[in-house]
Symmetry: C2
Subunit: 352 residues, 2 copies
């Protein structure tokens, strides 16, 4: 064992106490930088040295300090994700795919919630930029223009997702909400529905789909689309509650009145399932009296009875692509295409 120094170290700064690369290097009998290379670029090091360093690592339980590494290399291997709120089920697949893809490449995910209001947005951005992440993934919108400029100024690669804005900040993986609205309107029209309605959360993307849906219906010669808006995030309860608003005649005359709504496009599967549940309770027949189409294609849409038609978005694909973009950028590779339209798919089920 090592002999204890009789006098305590004089004015040494209190180190974290953890094993450092220095310790490993000393144990292996090499210079710190060599130990560093053995760990990071093993190809640049002789097999013997490599082995000795690995042994030293194993013996000491050394775990590299990525804070120090990040500071020295200006590469934090951290990616920040901004979501409106983590508890909406919508972005879950995206988050999961993001985490997995990043993690396979040695990156870690940091999560920040911007809220649907966007009051704390500036503070969040500062917290994120301060960590010097190698990339930022935005889901949903950045509210203020100042925020957008600030992000841009930070020089950190950014991927916007879940939308196809005309003026991307940097990179983008999304789909056209307008195209979704149009496709659903055409679909319902094709199925013989004539009195269309929308039930949407009040976030900008849902509103975009609803507006495109209404325009497309009009273009098809249908009567004006009844639009009901509920606050985001959407809930089952809001869906249940909305039936009365959408079909005011219900209580008195039953369905089937000439001008009764016969199809509703919901901005989320939650709303759709809520609507469906309430319709059943009220004795309405779905799809005979009322067709319902959701958005997001959560498991609950497929497993409801009747199964709910829904717009499927490849959320995992979005997450994975976003991660690839960021990793490529961090590795210094040039990204040829900076915008990916991941599309969507209308899944037809019993509810329509």
């Amino acid at each position: 064992m090592t002999s204890e120094p009789p006098v305590p170290a004089k004015r040494s700064r209190r180190s974290s106490g953890a094993v450092t690369l220095h310790d490993v290097a000393r144990l292996a009998g090499v210079a710190p930088i060599t130990a560093s290379r053995a760990l990071n670029t093993p190809a640049q090091v002789s097999p013997e040295v490599l082995k000795k360093v690995q042994e030293a690592v194993a013996r000491t339980g050394y775990v590299p300090n990525r804070l120090a590494g990040g500071l020295a290399s200006t590469r934090s291997r951290l990616v920040a994700l901004v979501v409106p709120t983590v508890s909406g089920p919508v972005f879950l697949d995206t988050i999961q795919a993001l985490t997995e893809t990043l993690d396979a490449a040695g990156y870690q995910l940091m999560v920040g919630q911007a809220g649907y209001e966007g009051r704390r947005e500036d503070a969040l951005l500062e917290a994120i930029i301060g960590r010097r992440p190698d990339g930022i993934v935005l889901t949903g919108i950045l509210h203020s223009d100042a925020s957008r400029r600030r992000l841009l100024a930070s020089g950190i690669p950014v991927v916007e997702t879940w939308d196809l804005t005309p003026t991307p900040l940097d990179m983008l993986v999304g789909f056209s909400h307008q195209a979704v609205g149009e496709a659903v309107a055409r679909y319902l029209h094709g199925r013989g529905r004539r009195r269309l309605a929308t039930l949407s959360g009040d976030d900008p993307r849902a509103q975009q789909r609803a507006a495109a849906f209404a325009r497309a219906a009009q273009a098809l010669g249908l009567p004006p689309v009844r639009a009901h808006v509920v606050p985001a995030p959407t809930t089952l309860q809001a869906g249940r509650g909305a039936l009365a608003a959408l079909m005011p005649g219900l209580a008195g005359q039953g369905a089937g009145a000439a001008d009764a709504v016969d199809a509703v496009f919901c901005s989320s599967d939650l709303l759709a399932l809520g609507l469906l549940t309430e319709a059943r309770v009220q004795g309405l027949d779905v799809p005979a009296d009322l067709a319902v189409v959701g958005f997001g294609n959560l498991e609950m849409a497929a497993q409801a009875a009747p199964a709910i038609s829904s717009v499927n978005i490849n959320g995992a694909g979005i997450g994975e692509q976003a991660a690839r973009f960021l990793i490529a950028r961090a590795e210094g590779q040039a990204v040829a295409e900076r915008v990916v339209d991941i599309g969507f798919e209308l899944i037809e089920r019993q509810s329509s």
Copy 2:
């Protein structure tokens, strides 16, 4: 002094290019350390200096580099969260509360997925420890014993959640799964149910609830509990599919056979809703023919028709308490109580 080369420093390392504290200090006409104090401990600085520094910050758009700060202070202001998988809805409230509480105190959340299998567990742990977080929150179990020892050895404060293990690693916020199982069994017995069954995911905590449920039923003099197990994470589909297994007589003779199951305790609301849906499709009357109790008290339980009885866990409370524990520890405060039993509540609804 070493002799200065006559030419200016050529071999300067490529700095990140961002504004640094030095820049701010120079602009404000003070030493870097004074600028640092103006930002971190404004009370220690004269009002004039404070003002000048703040102006310099505003003018330059300075954002402190927390990597550097963390390295120097050995406080990263980062908290790591480990979840089995991010896409289960169960931990969402916990994650949200955690994020919010941390963030209000200037901490950021890092997310890692351990998976239900726990193959990558070691790599994940290394990635986490390497960032030197000020705390780690564990939801669900750490699979290997080596992992637990390694975590402990890292010296990082740990909060385990969603369980009440007899031997906590460090701090703990949870509830007793055994007590849940017992309470539900007693409740169903009190409601006159006699042929009980469980439908559970195969994760350890769900199994614990199911086992306690079965033991309690036996203690109450009821016949053996039929137990059906499905792989975690649980799904609506698994719930729908399980009905046939739980009530094999269904197709032939209808419900009401003397030994037919008359109550099922599900390990998640997803399973409960799936079961309920399939029961309705099969013409079974819930609760008359079959009582259903879920777990988690997701919105879908309350909003289903009939509404599903469920065990409510204060997930947000868990997240908030965990954050408080970690923040207190990081600020050097002694935590008196290291274990909090957050309890649970059986919410009685129409389904039972």
